[in-house]
Every structure is written in C-alpha cells, then in structure tokens.
Symmetry: C2
Subunit: 375 residues, 2 copies
C-alpha cells in the first residue's frame, strides 16, 4: 500500500472508527484499525466482533495493499504531526508515516488476520434524517439495562410500520419511547429488531453531527446504518451490528393511557430541586413528592439522619387528585434530562401506579417511571 | 448565627475555601467549612492542619454565631438552589438554609471543635501583584518533587532580597527558576523560605484570576498570602501555611553559565515533535536529539522494538558544537509547556552536561534539565 492523504481527513476517519476497537487480550488485533485501499479511497475499519465500523476517505493511491495498526497509538501520533499531506506506505508489515520533517514507522499486524466484518444483503431498508435519528436515540439509550440475565432489554427496540419508527428502551424500572416519522419507506410489512446499546451509542456519535440521510438495512441477525457519499460506489460511514435475539417485552401495555393527577412544571427548576433533594436522600435514593393544590405547588422532600433534610416547592399547574408518593431520584433525573422543552408534563397514577414524564407540545417522546412502593 | 447572603457571594467563597479541606478519617471536622460572623461579614474557613484558608464576604447579619458543615455537600447544594438571597440560621448544630421555595437543614459539627488556624504577627512582609505571583508560581510548581525522603525539595523555595523575589523548584532531575521584581518592599535583610507545593497551588488558584496586590508575610515557621478588601478591617482571602524546614539545595550552582551548543526553535513545533517521539520511547522515556547544522535542523529520534520508531526534524538556529544526546521526554515537555514565548532557546552542554530551556526575550524564567547519561 502506498497513498497520500490530508491529515484532517485521516484524523476524522481515525476518530470515528477507533471508538469501535476492542481491548481484547485473546485477540489483540481487535485493538487495531485495518487500513485498506478501494480505488481512490482509503478505507478504515474497526470491529469488536459484535459491531463493525467502516469509513471511506479520499486519498491519492499509488499502490494497493493493506495493514492493521494500533488504534489509540495512531490517533495520538497523527494528531501531533504537522497539518499537511501525509504519505502512508506499507513495507514488511510496517506502516511508514512520512511528511515534511518527519518519518515514523509503526509496527502492524497482517491485514489477512483481521476479522471479516459482514456485509448485509437485504431488500429491507429505509432512509431517515441522520440528525433526527441520532437525537431520538440519544434521548432513550441511557434507559437500556446492562442486564446479562435479560439480554433483550440491554438493547434498543425498533418497531417499523406504516411510515413510523418507534424506538423503546427499558431497564424494568422505567421506560423511554421515541417516535419518528419515516418520510419514505419501502417496508411492505411490520419489522421489529433489538439493537445493542453500544451500537446505538456509535450511531449517535457518528451521525449526530452531520446533515443528510442515513440508510438503515436489516436482515434477521444484523442491522446496518450508513451515510451516503456523493458519486462514490460506497457509503461515507457504515456501522454493521449483530442484533439481540429474544422477545422484547410488550412495553406498550405499561404506558398509562390515563392519569389521576397531571402536573405541568418548569423543567429546569423541577430538575434542580430534585437534584438538591437527592443530596439528602438515603440508600434507596428516595425523594417524596406531594401536591398542594391550594398553593399551586409540588412539594419535594428528602431526608437522611446523617445529613439533614430538604424541602422545596416548585410551582405547578395541577389537575386531578391530590398525590403523595416517592420516586428514585435517579429515574426522575434520567427522564428530565432527555426532555428538551421548557415545561414538562408529569402525570401520576396514585402511590403505586406508573408516572409519566413528557415534553409539552411534543407527542413523540414519553418516559414512564415506577414509584417506590411504600412498605 | 442568623444571616442573609446572595447566592453568588456564598458560592464564590465556598469554592475557594472548600479546596483546602482534608478527607481525614481520624479528624472528620477537617472535611467541614467553618461558618462564622465578623461584624457585617460572613467568614468561611477551612484547613488541612498544614494549610488554612479564610474568605470574608458581605452579609446581612442579624445574629452572631458559628457552625461547621461538610464542604463538598454544601457546594453541591448551594449551586442547585435558586439564584437569589439565601438565609442561613444555626439552631442546635443544624444549619438551616432557606430561600424562596426551599428549606434545607444540614447537620453540622460544633464550631468549637474546629482547629484554630494561626494568625501571623510579623513585621516581615511585602506586596506584589497577585496575577504576576500566580503566573510565576504556576510556571515552576510542577517541578517540585513529592519526595518524602527530601522534604525540602517538595516545596517552592523563595529568596527575597533587594527588590527581587526569586522562586525555585526542583525534583533533582530538573530545576525551574522564576524571578519577579518587587516594586515596594520593606525587607531590611535577605529572607528565604520553603513553601509546600499544596500551598503554592492554592495561591495560584486563589490569586490567579484577580487583579490587585497580594501581601506576603512570614515568620520563622509560617507564611501568609492575602488579598485586600477595600474599607474592611480584614483581607478578602487569606492563606496561611506552615513552612518546610531544612536547607534548600544551593541550586544556583546547577544553572549553567555557559553553553557548548545553542538552539533557537519554534516552541510549539518542538513540543509536538517531542510528544510524537514520546509515543515511541521505551521504559526510560528516552528521546534522542542530534543537530545537523548543514541543514539547520535538530533531529529527534525515538524507538521501541514493540511499536516502531520516529524520526523528525525541527528547524533551528544553531550556534556552537555539534550535539548528540538523550533526554527524558517528560522533563523536556515539563519545561516547554511553561515557556510562554513563541520561540524557545535550548542551550546544551555536551552529552552529560545540563541543558537549559529559556523563553526568548525574557530573562526571568529558566529551566535546567539533565540529559540521560549514556551507559
């Protein structure tokens, strides 16, 4: 392999693919990035065997070839070389990195030993705005559970039907759902899949900052997310991931269709007072909530025999029954930080029924949270 | 104690004094901040027994008194309450923190149990611009050694004489010296003292961002740094510290008065290439330096059998002998990051003699670094 490339292009690619390497002791090549050449492009690839990322960037190719080199090391090195054209050449499994005033030689591992990242051939695919997809996923991905006992809830659930993409995540104490419209879809039938949360975080990172469409393809065992590159026979960035097998819980049943009490609160003020109360909460992270309709306030209370106690009042529009209940503050905060509107709707269903947090003026996001049951 | 105070004033004070608390298991009160009242001021104090910090801020005082409360906890809490007037009241060793819409009670420990931070009564004092003092100290403090075997080099050495303040730090592999002019000094004789590096870091933090003079007082065992408050009978912020006993090494002897080779290099380029080479260096952090006067460059070389090798050239004005030597890259970087000029002067004294890094156009800072001796 012998190519030349601009520093900024190389660094942009390295920073995207290097996140998907794996610190495997048994398979050290997973720590590496695969450099290979496709026509006028340098292709960078990385995988942890569950997730693979590929990135194509324009280069001046003199000679084809391939090598794998340690990812972090290379990112550190390339960020320090002068901001100009860089020449990359492979000789005897050594990557020669040269430019004006410097010559670096980095020992690599053979490209042939790098695991193959599968390609998906599927007629099931759709296109969606990358930014909307990333923003939507970022609102729910932290609600997944790292549980190994129930692998199906360790991922994000996608349900695709009739121009709508529904995405859901739960850790069994709380549930987040986001809906997106699909402007154009070739889906003939309903499709559902569970994508690992690590893949989702990469989708958020890779497609969150760019304008443009993302194509999503899926086969029974895999999903692929890719952004287009103009006039190229391949995408710009491609993420391929295995899917999680299993039956996703029928979460729609959990989302309450009614409420006994409805509050409308200033989100930031509510969030700050929950955080202040959290400092006083004990081992089970309990904060108590009580409405006072006569004053038009929600009262927040927490106490801890070692530290003291906190009581605050947040102005609230209040509809329905009086409420007196408790929540785990982490679960309330997890919902509130993903609500983008200035005001938040908080619907409650008695002391033991699920609560619902929703933005005002937006039906596309909903967050369900279970109260702490009084013993 | 019963006072009211603005949130921003309280938070400014808490963030300054809270850094000097100590996580002592045997003396948990060191984790606390002492609240007390002096006329129209709230006084905040913290100490780790070696270092004490006091901060005065205006408050509306209704009733005198005092209490100590956990520092970190209080910083977190006060940053979350609404940005308005806060009422603080002590009842039964509980600090009641109240404002519009909230009432917090924080359990404290008795003020009487808080260690006394000594006051220095001394006629030896001087005044210096706080920003210049902080900037100068920040250039040398990281060159101190955490060595417990040689406590005298764990601090910064001050030598005061004839309108000049000389400050030095060393870890025995390298040495940094900074000189400041004293526009006004009442010192009749030469004074020298060793101040612990933790105190120096607090001086940098506290006085680095503010305009105005800092008064420095010293007794045989202690030093005090304080900033003035207009029309108040006490300072704004005061740092009191024990001094380190012992004889500071006669470091002036180490600073070379001559050189065999003098280089003048672009600082950022030199720093980047040392950093790039450092990625390839082995266990002893060695990078090799060699001049090539015919090309007007300094060559930087490092290699590691596992990773590969790096060779780069940095343009340099070169005077004197040809050089071929090795340095620990950490020590070179430690000097270069504290040089503020665009160009750096690097003077060398053969393969085994000390090297000197200096800014161009500034005689006030010098950094001496020993090469790695060839075995």
């Amino acid at each position: 392999m012998k190519i030349s490339i601009l520093k900024e292009n190389l660094l942009a690619g390295l920073s995207i693919v290097s996140r998907s390497t794996s610190k495997s002791v048994t398979l050290p090549i997973l720590n590496n990035i695969l450099f290979s050449v496709e026509k006028n492009f340098l292709k960078l690839s990385a995988t942890d065997l569950e997730l693979g990322v590929r990135y194509w960037t324009l280069a001046k190719v003199e000679e084809e070839g391939a090598i794998t080199v340690p990812a972090k090391f290379l990112v550190n090195l390339i960020s320090l070389v002068p901001d100009k054209k860089i020449s990359l050449e492979v000789k005897n499994n050594i990557l020669h990195i040269e430019g004006k005033g410097y010559k670096n030689q980095v020992k690599g591992l053979k490209a042939e030993e790098f695991p193959i990242i599968p390609e998906i051939k599927s007629d099931k695919s759709l296109e969606i705005e990358g930014k909307a997809l990333s923003e939507g996923l970022s609102q729910i991905v932290d609600t997944t559970s790292p549980s190994q006992a129930r692998p199906e809830i360790s991922g994000v659930y996608f349900s695709l039907e009739k121009g709508t993409m529904e995405m859901a995540a739960t850790d069994s104490f709380r549930l987040a759902e986001k809906k997106l419209s699909l402007p154009k879809t070739s889906l003939a039938e309903k499709v559902s899949l569970i994508v690992p949360s690590k893949t989702i975080r990469e989708v958020v990172n890779v497609f969150g900052e760019k304008q443009g469409k993302v194509k999503v393809c899926f086969s029974p065992n895999q999903a692929m997310f890719e952004s287009k590159m103009e006039e190229a026979p391949h995408p710009q960035t491609q993420i391929v991931s295995r899917l999680i097998e299993g039956e996703y819980p029928n979460y729609k049943e959990i989302i309450p269709k009614k409420f006994k009490t409805q509050l409308v609160l200033q989100k930031q003020e509510f969030l700050n007072q929950i955080k202040a109360a959290s400092l006083f909460s004990g081992k089970i992270n309990e904060v108590k909530l009580k409405t006072d309709a006569s004053q038009g306030v929600l009262e927040i209370f927490a106490q801890n025999p070692d530290l003291g106690q906190s009581k605050s009042q947040v102005k609230s529009k209040i509809k329905g029954e009086k409420i007196n209940t408790s929540f785990n503050y982490r679960f309330l905060i997890g919902g509130l930080v993903n609500i983008k509107s200035k005001e938040v709707i908080f619907e409650l269903n008695g002391e033991e029924g699920p609560g619902v947090l929703r933005p005002t003026g937006d039906e596309k996001f909903v967050y369900v949270v279970m109260p702490i049951k009084s013993s």
